[in-house]
């Protein structure tokens, strides 16, 4: 009988499995679990190697044809985001003007249904990419940035805007932080979410300015003042969203300063042209150039490097980095002009990274995605609705966080008794059968037969060696194959990353 307490340490876990081949299997499995959304069930555990190689896979590497085809068929892939949003806004205007109550209610219902569909589409696309993209680490970092720059889908027209938002984050996920930050400042989803489209000279709304400093760049308590927040809010006046194709009427002196790109606009008529002082630096009132200047100042602050580096490490290690590792990351940040891939590489090469493997706890997203990758490997799901529903139940729905701080990255947020109980119910849903993952979404669509065969290539390729004796004894008592599946997916070993 294995001592259960000894099993918690990764080293002890290896020692208890006995077989000499098991040691590398456990270590390689843990590495694969960390660098991807979970090892695939149709492949033996990947060969061990330099973890930094995971960063070299292009973020837009092609998906398997079935996944690419599903994505290509989505409305968000076929129509530009700005058109989708303006169409929904125009329809809303027409519905509001309708006088017949029954017709109005029916039109409203259809509109709500279309908004829900657009939201579901973007979640589906994200899930398909996470499950099947060869750029697994890049996909994890895309999730990280969507969480760092968290937006809440149900607010205003954001559900229709997410199709552009996730593409923007993915494109910059491994690039320069300054460019990523700058890209978020012109995204309508962010500007609506944090109310900056309402921020104008004489009608200051400081919500976005505060969260940029507190959450997106410097971090709370890093020394900026309420006055800095107010100054940044003034700089951001006129940065907004235009939901119609026409341009505003501007006086001749302001017209040349107007900027429009899709739904994004910088409206000089709404901008406060006074001079500002941000973090001790003078910014001359000039329009959009002030925003670019402010982004440069914020992205180059030592507090920003420290804050973002620490958070990246927390995500990739599962715990706070040591001062030495943090120092190495911020040094690399400076040397690489804030190149995210280079800063991440410092983590991946560290001893702390090696030591952390297998010691982390999967958050709900990692848990569900790893279970589906394990159960079905490269067989592409036809319907992501069950996954969306599971994530919602575990309180980590994509773009479902109400507050701009994003979902917590520390394990303690996900190990509570209620979380564990819900997770077991989802283990049962996944283990029991296809759970609707292969049922076409169109009415009357067929449900392809599918069953989660967990004793697969990954299991026999080494996963079985990582299961402790206590869990094995319970698995041996399973009354059926679905129950065996449920138990394995509910086991403490499967929660680790």
């Amino acid at each position: 009988m294995v001592n259960a307490r000894a099993m918690i340490a990764g080293v002890a876990l290896l020692a208890t499995t006995g077989a000499s081949a098991a040691e590398p299997a456990a270590a390689r499995l843990a590495l694969s679990e960390r660098l991807s959304w979970g090892p695939r069930g149709d492949e033996p555990i990947m060969a061990s190697g330099d973890p930094v190689a995971a960063l070299a896979v292009p973020i837009n590497a092609p998906l398997p044809p079935a996944a690419a085809q599903t994505i290509a068929g989505l409305r968000i892939s076929r129509e530009p985001m700005a058109n989708l949003v303006m169409g929904m806004v125009e329809r809303r205007r027409q519905i509001n003007a309708m006088t017949d109550p029954d017709a109005k209610a029916a039109a409203d219902k259809a509109w709500q249904g279309d908004m829900a569909d657009l939201y579901r589409e973007v979640q589906t696309r994200d899930i398909l990419r996470a499950l099947y993209s060869p750029a697994q680490l890049g996909e994890q970092l895309t999730w990280f940035w969507a969480n760092h720059f968290s937006v809440h889908a149900p607010k205003r027209e954001i559900r229709a805007m997410l199709g552009g938002w996730d593409e923007t984050l993915r494109a910059h996920a491994l690039g320069k932080f300054r460019d990523l930050l700058a890209a978020t400042v012109t995204q309508p989803a962010m500007l609506q979410y944090l109310d900056n489209d309402q921020n104008a000279a004489g009608h200051i709304n400081e919500n976005y300015a505060r969260e940029i400093m507190e959450l997106h760049t410097l971090g709370v308590g890093s020394g900026y003042s309420q006055k800095d927040v107010q100054e940044l809010a003034r700089i951001l006046t006129g940065v907004g969203v235009r939901l119609s194709p026409d341009a505003p009427h501007l006086p001749p002196d302001k017209a040349p300063l107007y900027i429009r790109n899709g739904l994004f606009e910088f409206n000089p008529q709404r901008h406060d042209f006074g001079d500002k002082v941000l973090l001790g630096q003078q910014i001359h009132g000039q329009g959009w150039g002030e925003v670019r200047r402010a982004i440069d100042i914020l992205a180059s602050q030592p507090a920003t490097r420290a804050h973002i580096s620490r958070k990246l490490a927390l995500f990739l290690l599962g715990h706070d980095p040591s001062p030495a590792l943090l120092g190495a990351m911020t040094a690399e940040w400076q040397a690489s002009d804030g190149t995210i891939a280079r800063v991440v590489a410092v983590i991946l090469r560290s001893d702390e990274f090696r030591a952390s493997l297998g010691q982390g706890f999967k958050d709900p997203t990692h848990y569900v995605l790893s279970a589906v990758r394990y159960a079905y490997g490269g067989r592409v799901i036809r319907n992501a609705d069950p996954i969306i529903n599971w994530l919602r139940r575990m309180d980590e729905a994509p773009y479902g966080r109400e507050t701009p701080d994003g979902w917590p990255l520390d394990a303690a947020a996900w190990t509570g008794p209620g979380q564990m109980e819900t997770r077991f119910e989802i283990a049962k849903a996944i283990g029991n059968g296809s759970a609707g993952l292969f049922k076409a979404r169109e009415p009357g669509g067929t449900d392809e037969p599918a069953f989660p065969q967990l004793q697969n290539a990954l299991w026999y390729g080494g996963l079985d060696h990582t299961i402790g004796a206590q869990t094995k004894a319970v698995l041996d008592r399973a009354a059926s194959s679905p129950q065996w599946n449920m138990l394995l997916l509910a086991s403490p070993e499967f929660m680790r990353r």
Partner: protein, 409 residues
């Protein structure tokens, strides 16, 4: 009461259900009960308990202020005392409790955290530790109360629960406390034998400092307890007795399980960050506060008169909002808030704690309400009387706090 592990091993060997039935249920609730309600997002206190007779209030809020009390205007605020009035959306839920002297409001309440950050200040409140000096992250004040009550043999800690999707910071750092979102009505899908098998896999399992074994047991026990309580109630009263949805439904269930099973609980309610178009007598905030009021009234009704007399509910929020409305008919992050204290035995029907005249020159930083009653002193003073805590016990829960003597109970 049997030791948890004894129950587990004994039942396991006998081949019985380990956690099915009520073996693992928390002890029946009795005696004093406490519910903390956290309005996350900073509710605009000054438009819910409003100084509606104050001229400056109307100047500061030209589009969103509530009309001063007026018996013939159903949109007008409802009079509380000479200075304060209640939002009309609370007419049928909270106003009757005020008449019955079962709710008190504590204006100018909050923290000394001036960050005006939702997250920073929520964390500050939940930790309940002095913000100067070294703080113990991961330790919340309700968690510490549960620890003190357990250690003192007063019970309570075992009957503690968070009604939320994840375990909030305020409940951490003490004994293992379950969390449960009160969503569906369905029977739990994991049956008794599967529950036992899962529990066996987690025997002795830890993740760093987290005791996964205890978490799994506590989670199953809470699930069974809540499921049986609600199921019994539904069988007894018919489905119509359970409100359909939203906070009202959740609050009613919390009342049921706190009547029978749990005596120290937490629930949070979001959606208060009204920067834009917050509305006045009707609109965004009115809808939200109306639902909160109906929920708290349903909670009191579900407890029943006996348990309600032994219950104290405190409603807090991280900070108040700017006293002046912003350019978007909303309000921005401010400072002082107004907290609620309610219960069958609360000395209510009054505004409690020190007050300041509200005028441009008395605003904090010319922006928002000052804080004159610290939330730690408020809740510390309340708990000292409610639970009969001594100084050392109180100091464990709220270090370096002098409890406020507000005679709320």
């Amino acid at each position: 009461m049997l030791d948890r592990r004894t129950v587990l091993n004994g039942a396991g060997m006998a081949g019985l259900s380990l956690l099915g039935g009520r073996v693992m249920a928390a002890p029946a609730a009795s005696g004093t009960r406490f519910l903390l309600v956290f309005l996350r997002g900073a509710y605009d206190a000054a438009n819910v308990v409003a100084p509606a007779g104050n001229t400056f209030y109307h100047e500061a809020r030209p589009t969103i202020a509530l009309a001063a009390p007026d018996p013939v205007n159903p949109q007008a605020a409802l009079p509380l005392d000479a200075d304060w009035s209640l939002h009309p959306a609370l007419r049928d839920s909270i106003a009757p409790l005020w008449q019955a002297r079962q709710i008190a409001f504590v204006p100018f309440a909050g923290t000394d955290d001036m960050s005006r950050s939702h997250f920073e200040t929520q964390d500050t409140i939940e930790m309940g530790q002095p913000i100067q000096g070294q703080r113990q992250y991961g330790s919340g004040f309700v968690g510490r109360l549960a620890g003190v009550l357990n250690a003192g043999g007063k019970g309570g800690g075992n009957g503690t629960i968070a009604f939320s999707d994840t375990l909030p910071l305020v409940m951490r750092g003490g004994p293992m406390i379950p969390n449960l979102a009160l969503g569906g009505n369905g029977k739990p899908p994991i049956d008794d034998s599967e529950t036992a098998m899962i529990a066996t896999m987690y025997r002795g399992q830890r993740l760093g400092t987290v005791d996964l074994d205890a978490a799994v047991h506590t989670g199953f026990a809470a699930r069974d307890t809540v499921w049986h309580t609600i199921d019994d109630e539904m069988k007894a009263a018919g489905r119509g007795a359970i409100a359909a949805r939203g906070f009202e439904a959740a609050a009613q269930r919390i009342g049921l399980v706190m009547r029978d099973r749990y005596n120290l609980a937490f629930v949070d309610v979001g959606g208060w960050d009204t920067h834009v178009n917050q509305g006045g007598a009707t609109g965004q905030l009115a809808g939200r506060i109306g639902e909160l009021g109906r929920g708290l009234a349903a909670y009191a009704a579900a407890l029943g008169p006996d348990a309600w007399r032994q219950t104290v509910v405190v409603v807090v929020s991280e900070f108040g909002r700017t006293f002046r409305e912003n350019g978007n008919r909303g309000t921005d992050h401010g400072h002082g808030s107004i907290y609620w204290v309610m219960g069958g035995a609360v000395a209510g029907g009054r505004m409690v704690g020190p007050q300041s005249r509200i005028a441009p020159e008395t605003l904090n930083q010319n922006r928002d309400l000052p804080v004159l009653t610290d939330y730690r002193a408020l809740i510390g003073g309340l708990w000292q009387r409610q639970y009969g805590l001594n100084q050392a016990q109180l100091a464990k829960i709220f270090p370096q706090v002098s409890p406020a003597r507000l005679n709320l109970i």
